[in-house]
Amino acid sequence: MHLLEESFQEIKRTVQTKDTFQNITILSPVETLRSIKPVDVCCVTKNLLEFYMDRVFKDHQELKPQILRKISGIANTFLYMQKTLQQCQVQRRCHCSEEATNATRTVHDNYEQLEIPSAAIKSLGELDVFLAWIDRNRQETSAA
């Protein structure tokens, strides 16, 4: 996980500089993510991984090879994480409550408010928030 965050840190500045809509957030404010209950964490994580893989990484057209490599690394790691979460789903430990579904819908709605290139770059820039949230939940789970 730390390697993933380190990987993003290397391109964070370049990506966030390209974001011209500073007053809008797509991933919802940090407090909203923090307010997700432990029982909803699996569902929200799965949904947000899908959001990034189905929309953000596909919509973003990256030309610079260095940044393309880092995004590819993150995208493929998300795919690996999603496969792991699917096992939880099979064991019925990844139930989606109404709150979790609403939180996911909010993210999608925020994304659609902007045009695709701007929305994609903004979501890319917010990856550090998402990664930190995943890491915190993972630590809390292993501590429990």
């Binding site: 090879p65 590819s72 795919l79 690996y80």
Partner: protein, 331 residues
Amino acid sequence: MAGVDRMLHCKRNVPGQSKSAKQTLTMVLKGFRTSIIMWLFYTLIPCLLTDGGEALPAPQNLSVHSANMKHLLMWSPVVLPRETVYYSVEYQGEYESLYTSHIWIPSKWCSPIEDAECDVSDDITATVPYNLRVRAILGSQTSAWSILEQPFNRNSTILTPPGMEVSRNGFHLVIELEDLGPQFEFLVVYWRRELDTKEHAKVLRRGGIPVHLETMEPGAPYCVKAQAQVKAIGRNSAFSQAECVEVQGEALPLVLALFAFVGFMLILVVVPLSIWKMGQLLQYSCCPMVVLPDTLKITNSPQKLISCRREEVDSCALAVPSSEELFQAWI
């Protein structure tokens, strides 16, 4: 019969008509020849044009050799006389192959490269199958892409027991493991051989640095073994062969005791001797005892000498000179 007559009739041309037939035939033959030439032209030109591309074959026999999370893509080199052929490597993670299949990413260290092998460890950064492809480059010419037959997943890497150096620094048990990079952690297990004590375990986050394990006691040797662990792929290596060290405790105190005894005896003898000698030296140098020679010794009593001096000064003065005067004369 009529048809034959017609044919014969047709055959039986008048001289004027045979001349035009000849001309027609010539024209047809000319046209035919032109067509053949044109046909040959159109078929050969592409061959001539692609002759350069076909001379640059695609690399063959692609394979990946992976050990301790170092992944090496190798292929048979394309050998051309008097030419240096370069290669370009591209990769595609499972994400790209599923979601953006047209996207291939140039390898970090091998775009281009001269050797017929490429370290793709920095490209394969997730535990998913990766497609890899290589092509040859010669100037402006490029070969077709050769793709690795089976996608490569880094969880198939061979993990070997880590290289280990166990040493003794005084009474400290020290271990240094080989540095295998940030993906690796190590489980170190140590115990005392021949004693029925439990095993101890310690997790080291990085290799390449000496680490203190335990302060040793003399007696049984200490044995150590280690295992490499890679969390990213959820696998561990086998344990290394155990290495043992011990501290020489029993012989040492005996030797020390012997030396201590000898030293003590020396002290017992030498010190009083020294003190006595020092005392003598001090006595002679500070307060020397002066012994009067016999000739200067006064045999009469002091009272008699004094009365003698008072009554008969001259005679007494001549007979018994004072000791101070004698001394002064002597000095």
